[in-house]
């Protein structure tokens, strides 16, 4: 564990060298939630939106979503597929006595924490300037369960993106695939509207797919919109998805690594 922590800390130094780039990516990711807040301000006329949602709770939702996106959404698929597998950078990981999955995980943590800090700063600014628009009633239990769900969400997101990236062992170019995954994620992880607003069929589909468990549910839990038994059910499903993805990731790695040619190295 000590060794693990030391490696994480060393990677922080690397990420701090790229802090400006990280900030720009964070700002880019804000365009969606901020423009949706503006949209709902006009559409709701400041009133009740139904299904227990008000303009202020929806604003809180999008701000928490931006925060969760910064903290929890991994973007390793391009690095794994393009740089590591296609360009052969995987060599430098394979030659070292450390698991590829875990070293990529460690590399990702500082980026998420840095971006998450930007997200927290944004949330604080909103709380100071527009306190009436941010509605969060936190209890210790909600914080604990929300954090647990968030950690699981990050693991699911990371492992899922790793799986997408590993497909590059077999396919020449998977950029189309990860763009498709991004679009599906935007819809089914609640980036556009909370999933409660979906028609029932679409809502049921979104509950079955893994995307909501990567970001949506931790946000909803923190907003206090779920009962305790519902939270435990979500956490249970998150465990199931994580286990499934870990098995798939392991199988793809074992098979795929035999296809690796270390081209360009």
């Amino acid at each position: 564990m000590k060794r693990f922590l030391k490696i994480v800390i060393l990677h922080f130094e690397h990420v701090f060298e790229n802090r400006a780039r990280s900030l720009i990516w964070f700002i880019i990711s804000l365009t969606n939630p901020l423009s949706l807040i503006l949209f709902w301000k006009g559409a709701s006329n400041g009133g009740n939106l139904g299904l227990g949602w008000t303009f202020s709770s929806l604003t809180t939702y999008y701000l928490l979503l931006a925060l969760a996106n910064a903290f929890l959404t991994s973007h390793i698929e391009e690095e794994v597929s393009f740089y590591d597998i296609k360009q052969g950078d995987l060599v430098r990981y394979l030659i070292r006595p450390f698991s590829y999955y875990w070293i990529k995980f460690i590399e990702e943590i500082p980026y998420r924490l840095l971006q998450g800090t930007y997200g927290l700063i944004l949330l604080l600014i909103f709380i100071i300037l527009f306190s009436h628009l941010v509605r969060i009633n936190l209890t210790v239990l909600i914080i604990a369960l929300g954090l647990m769900s968030a950690i699981l969400a990050f693991f699911i997101s990371f492992t899922f993106k790793m799986i997408i990236g590993l497909l590059a062992f077999w396919f020449k170019d998977i950029r189309g695939l990860y763009n498709l995954v991004d679009i599906v994620t935007i819809v089914f992880a609640g980036y556009v509207v909370p999933l409660e607003f979906f028609p029932s069929t679409l809502k049921n589909v979104s509950y079955l797919l893994p995307f909501a468990y990567m970001i949506y549910y931790p946000v909803i839990i923190i907003q206090g919109k779920l009962l305790l038994w519902e939270i435990l059910r979500i956490v249970g499903i998150q465990f199931l998805y994580l286990s499934l993805f870990l098995v798939i990731q392991r199988l793809l790695w074992k098979k795929g690594i035999k296809e690796f040619t270390a081209i360009g190295q």
Binding site: R3, H14, E17, V91, L94, R96, P97, F98, F260
Partner: protein, 326 residues
């Protein structure tokens, strides 16, 4: 027991063959033809502890593919490899802690941070105790003359400095087996020389087993007693470098300086004239007759100086590569 033991190693790559033109593209939509391209074809060799072996061959000969198989990066199609008793592709932690791979001009250091930060990362990854790390860095930095640049951003270093730092990064865990793939590529002659000295010293000091590929014959001549020559995936020669000349060179070069000019006609029957400048002549003669012809020249002409020279190793190797001999 040999440290490196390779038996019947083959590596094939599946290559897609496309017919030329639009029609070929259309056909390939429905029916793609694949062929197995042999990168390494049934090679076997053994390397003992502490040996420094040159692995040479032209581009595409299979050198790097072999090295990748030996270091566990790619999966062999056939054959068996044992390194320090491990199968490389299993990539067991204990195996990886005992090997090092340096690929020329490939950056493994953090670009935006000083080399020392990458070394610290390797220290943790390889679980090197603090004291050993300090001593090793001290020793390697001194040997490589990089003490003054350990705290400079990698992106600010010259290619030569970077290569030295890369090499140190791969040696922090003091690997018992080291694979060097074109370590001097792109470096100027001074830096090449320094790197060679370092490799030799590392081999001597740590009794490391080293397999080196290089396009520069100087690297091989200066460092390796034994060479393995590979071409088109197969081994053409495996033995002492000095024996290549005896085995493959059928001729010797007589370099003669005469006291007074000698007519060309008088020399033509003795061998092939490679250089004729009045009193200075280079004569290529059959190896077995060289002593006899040299005596004949001394007796018949006024010879100021005469040398019997072996052909350059580069020349022989070039001929082996182009299959003019063997």
């Amino acid at each position: 027991m040999a440290i490196i033991d390779v038996k019947n190693l083959s590596k094939y790559f599946r290559v897609y063959k496309k017919e030329p033109g639009v029609l070929g593209s259309l056909k390939s939509l429905f029916n793609r033809k694949y062929e197995n391209s042999k990168a390494v074809d049934n090679i076997s060799f053994k390397i003992e502890e502490g040996e420094l072996v040159g692995f040479i061959g032209p581009n595409g000969a299979g050198k790097t593919t072999t090295l990748k198989c030996l270091s566990g990066l790619i999966y062999p199609s056939q054959g068996k490899i044992s390194i320090l008793g491990y199968t490389p592709f299993d990539r067991k932690s204990d195996f990886l802690k005992q090997i090092g791979l340096v690929m020329g001009q490939k950056n493994q250091l953090w670009w935006d941070l000083p080399p020392i930060e990458s070394y610290l990362l390797n220290k943790e990854i390889y679980s090197i105790p603090d004291r050993q790390f300090k001593e090793t860095i001290e020793e390697l930095a001194e040997l490589m003359e990089i003490k003054n640049i350990l705290q400079v951003q990698v992106r600010k270093l010259s290619l030569g400095q970077r290569m030295k730092c890369e090499l140190v990064a791969q040696l922090i865990h003091l690997p018992k087996v080291l694979f060097l793939d074109e370590p001097t590529i792109g470096l100027d002659v001074v830096m090449q020389q320094k790197l060679r000295c370092f490799v030799r010293e590392y081999n001597r000091r740590y009794k490391a087993t080293i397999l080196l590929t290089s396009h520069y014959m100087d690297d091989v001549k200066e460092l390796c007693r034994r060479v393995i020559i590979i071409n088109q995936g197969g081994i053409l020669y495996d033995g002492l470098l000095e024996n290549i000349t005896k085995k493959y060179s059928t001729h010797k070069l007589l370099s003669v300086i005469f006291e007074s000019p000698v007519k060309k006609d008088e020399l033509q029957s003795l061998g092939e004239i490679k250089l004729y400048e009045s009193t200075k002549v280079n004569l290529l003669v059959p190896r077995k007759d060289s002593n006899h012809i040299a005596s004949h020249l001394m007796e018949k002409f006024d010879v100021a100086d005469l040398n019997i020279e072996e052909p350059e190793v580069e020349e022989i190797v070039r001929k082996i590569f182009t299959a003019k001999i063997v």
